[in-house]
């Protein structure tokens, strides 16, 4: 890919990322009064994140077995109210150990 094309493509990517982020924030200043819509918007993060995690998390590493180990450890840590960082490190380490064990077994 030529450098000019690459730069144009990056600009296109940046534009289609920024547009959906900026439009509601720039155009929508009013407080929504409707309780249904307000509750809908408050619940939205959980619905979207849940859909983003499952089942994609199981295919986020080299093997589904190590990914399941990482997901289970993350779930246990999060259930015990550990912070973002602890859960992220715990999940990563669990995958690392699982893949190391898998390699030894093979």
């Amino acid at each position: 890919m030529k450098t000019e094309m690459l730069i144009i493509a990056i600009l296109v990517m940046a534009t289609v990322t920024y547009l959906p982020r900026v439009l509601p924030l720039a155009l929508f200043k009013r407080k929504i009064q409707n309780p249904f819509v307000r509750s809908f918007l408050l619940y939205m993060p959980y619905g979207i994140l849940a859909a983003m995690i499952f089942p994609a998390v199981f295919f986020s590493t080299n093997s589904i077995i190590s990914a399941i180990c990482g997901a289970v450890i993350s779930l246990i840590l999060a259930w015990n109210k550990r912070g973002l960082l602890t859960v992220a490190i715990g999940g990563t380490l669990a995958v690392l150990i699982a893949e190391w064990v898998l390699m030894l077994v093979k």
């Binding site: 890919m1 690459l6 730069i7 493509a9 990056i10 296109v12 990517m13 534009t15 289609v16 990322t17 920024y18 547009l19 959906p20 982020r21 900026v22 439009l23 509601p24 924030l25 720039a26 929508f28 200043k29 407080k31 929504i32 309780p35 509750s39 809908f40 918007l41 408050l42 619940y43 939205m44 993060p45 959980y46 619905g47 979207i48 994140l49 849940a50 859909a51 983003m52 995690i53 499952f54 089942p55 994609a56 998390v57 986020s60 590493t61 080299n62 990482g70 997901a71 993350s74 840590l77 999060a78 259930w79 109210k81 973002l84 960082l85 859960v87 992220a88 999940g91 990563t92 893949e99």
Partner: protein, 245 residues
């Protein structure tokens, strides 16, 4: 979850640190994969500087590497990024109402999945100082991880790269599990979203739909159900039906 604390710039910086560290691993993987696909060293860094998004950047680089046209790149990424419409709409209700347009434009750039999820957990209305803080530390993690990944491309063993792939999902899990454990409403919403997401992943013909659309549909149906069954009067979940703990 942080209760009743002052939303200052330094509080924002601090809340951004775990996000930044989670980002380090993901953006490291991004920088590395871009360079290993033959892109020049500077390009993943410029992409991280100008895009500041996870999935979109990975998919964008994949498409470019496959020789896709600009229109295809634009359309695919737009669909992946449509969820930001909902997130920004949601965030617009939590920002201080008198915030200037310029500050809103700046905050919009930093409305990533993680920054959105963490800032939405604050009980008070969000001011620009807190938002700038959380965006700044997260952005720093995102960009520096990309630089390190692009430079280190072949240094890191494949096993570590593979393990880092799960980091961002672990963060998402850390965000949704505590409220799902506490509130019956959130638990049901999460369960519905996961169920639908699995249908869109495995069951034909639904699995023909791109993941961007699937996430939006799962998010809309599950939160609409939640809003119908458990409408909230105030701006936090506290009044919702709590589980016994």
């Amino acid at each position: 979850m942080s209760d009743n604390k002052k939303l200052t710039f330094s509080a924002g910086l601090k809340d951004g640190i775990p996000i930044a560290l989670g980002y380090l691993s993901v953006s490291f993987a991004f920088g590395m994969s871009a360079v290993s696909k033959g892109f020049p060293l500077w390009s993943p860094v410029v992409i991280s500087l100008s895009n500041f998004t996870g999935t979109g950047q990975f998919v964008g680089v994949d498409l470019m590497a496959a020789g896709a046209g600009l229109l295809e790149i634009a359309f695919t990424l737009l669909i992946i990024n449509l969820r930001y419409l909902l997130m920004s709409l949601s965030l617009s209700q939590r920002l201080e109402p008198n915030m200037s347009l310029l500050k809103r434009l700046a905050i919009a750039f930093g409305n990533t999945d993680e920054i959105f999820a963490v800032s939405m957990q604050q009980k008070d209305l969000l001011n620009y100082k807190y938002m700038f803080g959380i965006i700044l530390s997260s952005y720093f993690g995102w960009v520096s991880g990309t630089v390190a990944g692009a430079c280190a491309s072949n240094l890191l063993p494949a096993m570590i790269c593979s393990a880092l792939g799960i980091a961002v999902y672990s963060m998402f899990i850390a965000i949704i599990v505590p409220p799902a454990r506490k509130y019956w409403s959130v638990l049901q919403i999460v369960a519905i979203a996961i169920g639908l997401s699995c249908v869109f992943y495995w069951i034909p013909p639904f699995n023909k739909l791109s993941s961007g659309w699937a996430i939006i549909i799962c998010g809309v149906i599950s939160s609409a159900y939640g809003a119908y069954r458990f409408p909230l009067k105030s701006d936090n979940l506290e009044e919702g039906v709590q589980n016994e703990n």
